[in-house]
Every structure is written in structure tokens, then in C-alpha cells.
Subunit: 113 residues, 3 copies
Amino acid sequence: MGFSTLKRLTIITEASVKDDIIKHIVSHGARGYTIDTVYGRGQTGRGLRGERGFRDDESLIGDHLRNVKIEVITSKEAAEKILSSVVEKFFTNYAGIAYMHDVEVVRAEKFVP
Amino acid sequence: MGFSTLKRLTIITEASVKDDIIKHIVSHGARGYTIDTVYGRGQTGRGLRGERGFRDDESLIGDHLRNVKIEVITSKEAAEKILSSVVEKFFTNYAGIAYMHDVEVVRAEKFVP
Amino acid sequence: MGFSTLKRLTIITEASVKDDIIKHIVSHGARGYTIDTVYGRGQTGRGLRGERGFRDDESLIGDHLRNVKIEVITSKEAAEKILSSVVEKFFTNYAGIAYMHDVEVVRAEKFVP
């Protein structure tokens, strides 16, 4: 079997916005996703609510906030659109990070819209 | 210390096939692995059993199935063989996805067969 | 939004050394991190204590040790320094692996020191 290159997109954010982000991902053509519970810690970034769910906290050591990690394997085009739009649409009001990178798969047709 | 390039291989599949896949990975020379419990959702793909454990379900939003994520850092050659053979051997009867990508490590001799 | 390339650094090690490694990461400029509980298995590598928490065990199949996975998105320079120094400083006495790879993000200024 030959290998094809797709993108793996990872979104780590507050659990409360999980369902909205999943709907957003699926509406952009993702054919599946994986969810995991993780714990995050970040610096305060923008106004009231800090990145990764923290506010007014100068130390990065200490209690951790429960976050959700959402992963999708999809086409480069879909991943780029989802990454940009999730940051723009959700991360003004919710703490989160998102990133993507190339992965090699077999049977790429299972993953693409 | 210098950096070497190896492959990180990730397999996300039904928990019931975990032990068989781990035996398969180890028989191909993997010197260690990491396991995590995740929740997955995918579209029906092939006959009775859909991808990622779902059957006859048109919506990607809703209940999630408990899956296992298995990760291995190994040589390019071993990763390619494991990726191809896991998909061929297990993913006809079990729901799952698998992908790999380059990673940089130090002390690469610890990881390779 | 344009995409920038940063590094994602992953450290999988014994839970008992988690806090020390997090302090080490933060002291090298990481602005946030994600923690997950995973289960690992590896071969004995160096003297008394094996890689990934195992000693004197020839089989890779069987009981698994509870580990912690720590992930950081940071600059290439910071990731290289952290990867090298974590292996050198902690993995002589504690079982663990570490690796890094490129990721694309938007709003890279949030992640860098």
C-alpha cells in the first residue's frame, strides 16, 4: 500500500466549548475525530479570560484546568480552514490552542471530505 | 546532543483489539509503546462495521465510542511496515485509523530494533 | 491568517518526576503545556531502572506502567534546548522518552518566549 500525506489537526480547549467545535469541524468536512481529556496550563493572554482557561495567574506551576483535546485527520485544505476559523471564532471567548502537521496514511480516501 | 529523525506511529482503534495490535507491533521490532484511552467518532465505511466503531449512523455528533490510542516511536522502515500491515490485517474487521510522521529525538539507538 | 512553524515537544515519563520537568520547561520559556495520563511499556535499557519504568522484564506484553505525557508548543530554539536537557538531566534516573516535530499554528506570538 502506498502512503498519502494528510493533515492532523489538534485543538486543545475548554470542555464547555467541545460540542460547538465538533459541529464546526464536521461542517467543514471532517469525517471523524478523536477526543481526549487532558489538563492544561497557560498564561493569561487577552482580557478577562486567559489562554487555556487561566486568569490573573503569574505562575505556570500549580493547579491545572481540565481541557479537551480534539484531533482530526483531514485534507490540507480542510485542516487549514478549520484551524484558522476555530481560532478566530472560538478563541476570543474561550481559552485554547490549535496546531496542525503532516501525517502519512494508507487509504487516504477514508479521511477526506 | 545531536538530533536523529525517527517515525512516530499512531493507531486509534477499538479497545478489544488492543492486545493483538501490541503483539503485532512488538513482533515488528518496536521497543516500547504508549497507550491512552480516547473517544472516537467516525462515519460508517465498510459493510457491517463502520470506521471507528460506528455503524449505520449518519450523524457525527452524539455519543462517542471508547477507543484506544497506541503510539510507537521507531525506525522509518519498521513504522512503514507496521502501518501497512495493521491496516491490512486489523481494519477490515475492526474500526480504526493509523498514521505516522517524522519526529526528532536524541539517543535514537534506544528506539530502533 | 497566515501560518507559522513552531515545535511541538512531547515528554513521556514517570509521574513522580512530572513537577520537576514542568518547572524545567517553564524555566526555559514555555508559555503553557498540556498534561495527560498514559500507560507505557518499554525495554530495560540502563542498569537498575529500565526505560519507561520497567526493570528486568524481557516481555513487552503484560502489565503497563502509569506515565505522564507532557506536551509543549514553543519555538524551535526552546524546544531543542528543553529536549536535550530533559534527556540529560532526568532520563538517567527516571524512565522516559522525548521527541519533537514541526507544527503549524496561527498567532505564533502566543506561544513563544
